[in-house]
Structure formats: structure tokens, C-alpha cells
Amino acid sequence: MRVVHYLNQFFAGIGGEEAAGAPPEVRDGAHGPGRLLQQLLGPEAQVAVTLVCGDNYAAENLEQLTAWALDRVREAQADLFVAGPCFEAGRYGVAAGALCAAVQQHLGIPAVTGMAEENPGVDLYRKDLYIVDSGTNVTAMRDAVGRMASLALRLLAGEEVGPPSEAGYHPRGLIRDAFVEETAAQRLVRMVYAKATGEKYESELRGAVFPKVPAPPPVIDLGRAKVAIVTDGGVVPKGNPDRIQGNAAQNWGAYSIAGVDDLRAEDYEITHGGYDRRYVEEDPDRMVPVDVMRELERQGVVGKVHDQFISTSGLANPIANSRRLGREIAKKLKEDEVDAVILVSA
């Protein structure tokens, strides 16, 4: 059994974030976690080649990388393609998902990857791929790779994969009908009893669930408050220095408006591709209202306008990822002692 394995710069041992721009390369045999993968796939398995690419390079050149990877997989005459596990690394997960999906679709061989629930790659690719739940902890590598290997072996043997809870992959959201011994009535009463008595129960259906967000108390003294502007409309300085993606953005940026009374069109661009951007391009204050906020600051309506605004793109942004972005932004603004936020959404 010939396997091709995909790794990012970190797991291939090239380096950390500073090496994220590493271009794609082919290495013979198994590297990094690939050795464990080979071992756990059994004596018949051989990682023929390992494909390595830096996360930023992958994120910025996904199409070319995919074409290149398909060629390498064909050349290697692989029976199986494995990517990751990626844990929480978002750019890695998105690239892994894209490559696996392409291999599956164009080469018709099984493809398996592994990611944590929060990885944007999960929401993007869960319907198309078997994505093992690796959790966020890199020290659980052996467990994650083990489940990836088991799943891969079943796919190769043409066997039934089994439900998500058994095989350890993220639910793909696909429905299959099956007879069970208990009637719905029996299951219903059992479930409500467990819920009513504080015991554990497992719902047979879990939709996208939006937990209640506790409302912060009202701002008492706005005239002394520091207010920050945050936007998901993707307004960024010209050149998009933080490379915030328009689609499923995995990062956010904080941009200085110290001493700035008014955002000028020539200083900014829009990375969010999901709305007609020309009006905000003409005048970015239409999304990030610095001009009026400065005026209100002068009038004493607000105590201070924070000297940075925060920006990201909300377009097609998976829920788990958006939650992470929100948490990170909130943390940063708390560190900056901001009292209140105006979030302007596209």
C-alpha cells in the first residue's frame, strides 16, 4: 500500500511561523508524524513520498498547490492520501481539506485528514471528507494518527466506516436511516428523564447550536468610556499587510487611527468579497465610522475613541472559527482597556 502524506512547515521540521512561506517540496519516504502513520497503517504500508508546504504559501497559492499535489500523488501511484493531522492550525487545516477533497474527487483514492473541531477546515470540508477529530492537543498525536490510520484502512478495504462516535471523525451531517429496537416513544421518555434528573443524554440530532451570549451590563458613564470600532466588513490598510482573507478569514488586524479624523479612500482596501465594495471603497467611514466617532469624542459624548480599529472578514466564516476570532479580539481589546465596542457588520 503506497501512501502520500502532506505536512506543513512545522510538522516537517522546517520551522515555525517564520517559515510559513516555504514553497512546496517533495521528500522521499515518511517524515515527522508520517513515520507514526506508516507504523500504524501496518506492515503493508509505505509512505512513498511526503509533500511539504508552508502554511502561508499554501493559503495564498491553494489552486497551484492542489494541481501540483495531484501530480505528485499520481506519480507516486498512491493508494491513499493522508494530510496532517492539523489540530487547530487553521491555514494547515484548510489546505489539508482542499488537497484531500481534490485527491478524492480527481484521483478516486481514499483521502483522510485530522483536525480539531475549531479548525475552519472542519466546517468547510466535513461534508466531503472523513476528518478525524484530533482534538487541539498535539501531544495526542499518536491517538489522532491511530484513528486516521484505522479509518483509512477501512476505506481501503471498502468496509463500512461506522458512525462518527465510533470511528472518531467529525459528523459529516449526512443522514442515514436505520431501524433500531426501541420505539421513538421509548427513546423520548428516556431522554427527558435523563435531562430532568441531570444525567447525561445524547440528542439524536444536534443542529448548529448558538449558545446564549450573556449580555454585558449597560455602560454607565459613556462620557468617560473608551470605545473601539470593530468591523467584519474587511476594511484593511492598502496592501492588506496582515493578509486577511476575504473568505473564511482566519485572522484579524488592529490598525492605527491615532490622530486620524477621517479614513481616506487611498489608504484602505476591502478584503471581504461578499458585498459590493465600491461604496465603502469610496469612503471607508461608511463601514468604519471614524469621522463621526471623532466628532462625538470631541463633543464629549464618548470619553475616548480607541486609537486602533479592528478588522476582519465575516464572509463565509465558519462558526467555530468566528468564535475564535471574537474571543481573540475581545482579549486584545480588554488588554487595551476598552470599555465598549461598536461592531459594524457588512
Binding site: 420505539t183 439524536e204 448548529a208 448558538f210
Partner: protein, 419 residues
């Protein structure tokens, strides 16, 4: 209030001269029964067939399935408000002919009872005897009247047959007793209520569609009912069917399960609510709010299970009612499933409500896309020869068409698993 069922098992069913029960054999006096049913001048004729377990047969065009039951004289009336004068149901003694049904047929209906073949194992009616009743209303009648005549014929036949057991000693006795909401709270024993939609206003109820004590539910707001009332003929399946059968009100899977848990001392069944899915936003908000508040304040429930009747809007109403209950501290579990006709078999297309508190969901298959081969049958019983022909030629049957397999009353064992 206590309801006692005197159970008379029937293991042999045949048509004959005089209606009588001998041991476990019921002979149906055909002419006698016909005469009784044709007292309703709206019927032109009525025919009967007997179908037995094990036959390579299919009953097609099922309109409703009813268990033969009759009140002990003095303890109330049969199907009160519908075919009898009004009387409180659910008390005293009711005689039950168990092991058989009255299966009422009528067009148009694609529902079938499979007595043999792959579906027989999962169809709860394949193991029972059936007196098939095919009422033929006069063709000049307005549709709603024809449907009422059809429904009443079935109810009358069911009561008539069960009356043959009056005075006979029962082989078995079942007792259903609940003191309702006034029973004192017992530590560690949750007080559970059942909230069931009995009609969906996505369909306008016919003026003479008999659902709750003969009332068609138009203009009704949610009402509190004792569990026994459902079991004893107060609530009937609506005209549209929608995976709801009178048989499964009489033998309600959820109520009987709750009673079982109560027997074991694990829950207190404090009561039920009959409600309707709303016809518009105002109607929805009103019914959902009242159903929830009755559950909390009139029944004093700690927990509630909810079911629906109908499609997507009822599903949303049920979710909203559950959310309101959770807001009031009542723990809920809801049952979703048929008739989910969405061809996109995904989770997203199956949830029409999205409240994090409503997180205990039983997920039944919509049934429309799960097929098994249809039985190779020697005999088809159907409302007409033309209908019989279509039912004969079936190669496959989807779960949603097999009576009792998809059920909004809790009988369903075909689950939707999320992969």
C-alpha cells in the same frame, strides 16, 4: 381518574351470520353490521373483508386504523362527542378486543398495511387481524361530509364489535391511573407532561372533522386533558392522516411508556396538553405560549415531551413551545421526523428551529427515501378495483407509505442517524 381496560384477545376473525365472541374467536355478523352502519344515510354501501396475519396480502388505501373498544355501560360513551353523546372519557371500564383492528379504507390514500414481505417485520399491523371496512359515501356529498361519514363508519364498526365482549370475563386487565397535577411532589420523581399537537392549521379543518371530543379544533386554544382521555376515545386522527392513527391514540406509545415509568415510581405523569400548530404567526405565538404556560402553571410539570402533527410549520411550533418551556425551567424533549420530504439528507435541512436549550431531540427518519421491496402478494384489499390494481403492482415501498412505520405518535423505530 382511573381507566380499567378489560382485554379480550382475538386470535381468530371471520365473517358470519351472527356477531359473537367464543373464546378468542370473533365472528362478525356481516348483515347485522352492515345494517347498523347504513343507518347513516350518507352511505350508499359498505363492504367488509377479513385479513389475517401470515397472509400474502396487502391492505391499500388506509384512511384510519381503530381498535375495537366499547365502554362498560354507565362508564361513559364510545368515542364521545364524535359518534356518541358527550361524556368524559378515561374513567371506569372499557372493553378492548386486542389482536385486531378495524382498518378503514378510502381514496385517495397511498398508505398500505403489509401483511407479508420485508416490511411486515416493521409494520406493527402485520401481526394483527383486520376487519377491513370500506364505506362508500353517496357521490353527491360534499367532500367533508363524505370524509365524516367514512370516519364515523369506522368508529361505529369498532364500537359495535367490542360490544360483543360486554359481559364476558376479560383474559387480562390493564389499569391506568393518574391523580393529575394535584398529586403532591415527590423528591427525585420528575413531574412529566405530554404536549401533543392534534391538528395543524396548515390544513384548514373541515367543519365536521372530528378531532377532540368531536370538535374540529377550529378556534380552539390549547387544552389540558387527562392522559386517560386520549386512551379512551376522546381524540381521533385527523382526515389528513399524516402518520397519525386513532389506534395509536388508543394505544398511545408515549402515554403508555410514561405510565410504565410511573408504575416503576420513576416519573409522575401529571397531565397532557392537546394543542394545534398555528396557521399564522399570531396563532403560533398564542398556541405555543398557552401550551407552555398551561404545562408549567396548570400542570406544574418539571419536564415535558412534545410531538407534532404535520410538516415543517408544526415542527417549528413544537420547537418554539419547547423553548418557551425551557425559559420557564421545564426540561423538554421533542420528537422530529416525518414527514420530512427534503431530498437533501443533511442535518441542516432537517432542523427548522435552532434553540440551544432545545437540545434533547429524538430524530426519526422522514421515511420518504427509505425503501424496501414490496411483498409479492396474492391478495390486495383496496377501496376499488382500480386502486387494487395499483397496489398489486408495487415493487418497492417507502417507509412513509407503510402504516405505522412512520409515526408522529411515537411508534416509529426507523431512526435518522447522523453520520
Amino acid at each position: 381518574m382511573r381507566l380499567t381496560l378489560f382485554v379480550h384477545p382475538i386470535t381468530d376473525l371471520r365473517l358470519g351470520g351472527e356477531t359473537r365472541i367464543e373464546g378468542a374467536a370473533l365472528t362478525v355478523g356481516e348483515e347485522e353490521l352492515r345494517g347498523a352502519l347504513l343507518q347513516d344515510g350518507r352511505l350508499e354501501s359498505v363492504s367488509f373483508e377479513v385479513v389475517r396475519p401470515g397472509e400474502h396480502a396487502r391492505i391499500g388505501g388506509v384512511f384510519d386504523v381503530i381498535e375495537p373498544r366499547a365502554k362498560q355501560p354507565g362508564d361513559g360513551y364510545d368515542f364521545p362527542g364524535a359518534i356518541s353523546p358527550m361524556a368524559l372519557a378515561g374513567r371506569g371500564t372499557t372493553h378492548v378486543l386486542r389482536g385486531m383492528t378495524v382498518a378503514v379504507l378510502g381514496e385517495p390514500s397511498g398508505s398500505v398495511i403489509e401483511m407479508a414481505g420485508p416490511w411486515a417485520e416493521w409494520c406493527p399491523f402485520s401481526a394483527l387481524h383486520h376487519l377491513v371496512v370500506i364505506p362508500r359515501p353517496r357521490p353527491d356529498l360534499p367532500r367533508h361530509m363524505a370524509l365524516n361519514a367514512r370516519k364515523q363508519a369506522g368508529l361505529r364498526a369498532a364500537a359495535y364489535l367490542a360490544r360483543a365482549s360486554l359481559g364476558l370475563p376479560p383474559a387480562d386487565t390493564e389499569m391506568y391511573e393518574s391523580d393529575g397535577p394535584s398529586q403532591p411532589r415527590v423528591e427525585g420523581v420528575p413531574r412529566v407532561a405530554y404536549i401533543a399537537q392534534v391538528h395543524s392549521r396548515q390544513f384548514v379543518a373541515e367543519v365536521d372533522e372530528q378531532i377532540v371530543y368531536g370538535h374540529n379544533t377550529t378556534g380552539m386554544v390549547p387544552v389540558v386533558l387527562h392522559p386517560n382521555e386520549w386512551l379512551d376515545g376522546a381524540v381521533l386522527a385527523p382526515n389528513a392522516g399524516l402518520n397519525v392513527l386513532t389506534y395509536h391514540y388508543q394505544n398511545h406509545p408515549i402515554l403508555t411508556e410514561l405510565y410504565r415509568w410511573q408504575e416503576e415510581g420513576r416519573v409522575a405523569l401529571v397531565g397532557t396538553i392537546a394543542t394545534m400548530a398555528g396557521g399564522d404567526n399570531f396563532d403560533r405565538d398564542l398556541n405555543c405560549t398557552l401550551a407552555a404556560e398551561l404545562t408549567k402553571w396548570a400542570l406544574g410539570a418539571d419536564a415535558a415531551v412534545l410531538t407534532k402533527t404535520g410538516g415543517g410549520a408544526p415542527h417549528a411550533d413544537m420547537g418554539y413551545t419547547a423553548k418557551l418551556l425551557e425559559d420557564m425551567g421545564v426540561k423538554t424533549a421533542v420528537m422530529v421526523g416525518p414527514p420530512n420530504l427534503s431530498p437533501e439528507r443533511t442535518v441542516e435541512s432537517s432542523t427548522l428551529f435552532n434553540y440551544p436549550e432545545v437540545d434533547a431531540i429524538v430524530f426519526n427518519s422522514g421515511g420518504a427515501y427509505f425503501e424496501l421491496p414490496a411483498a409479492r402478494v396474492e391478495r390486495v384489499v383496496a377501496p376499488s378495483p382500480e386502486a387494487a390494481e395499483t397496489f398489486f403492482g408495487l415493487e418497492k415501498l417507502a417507509a412513509s407509505r407503510v402504516t405505522g412505520v412512520t409515526s408522529q405518535q411515537g411508534a416509529q423505530r426507523l431512526r435518522a442517524l447522523v453520520y
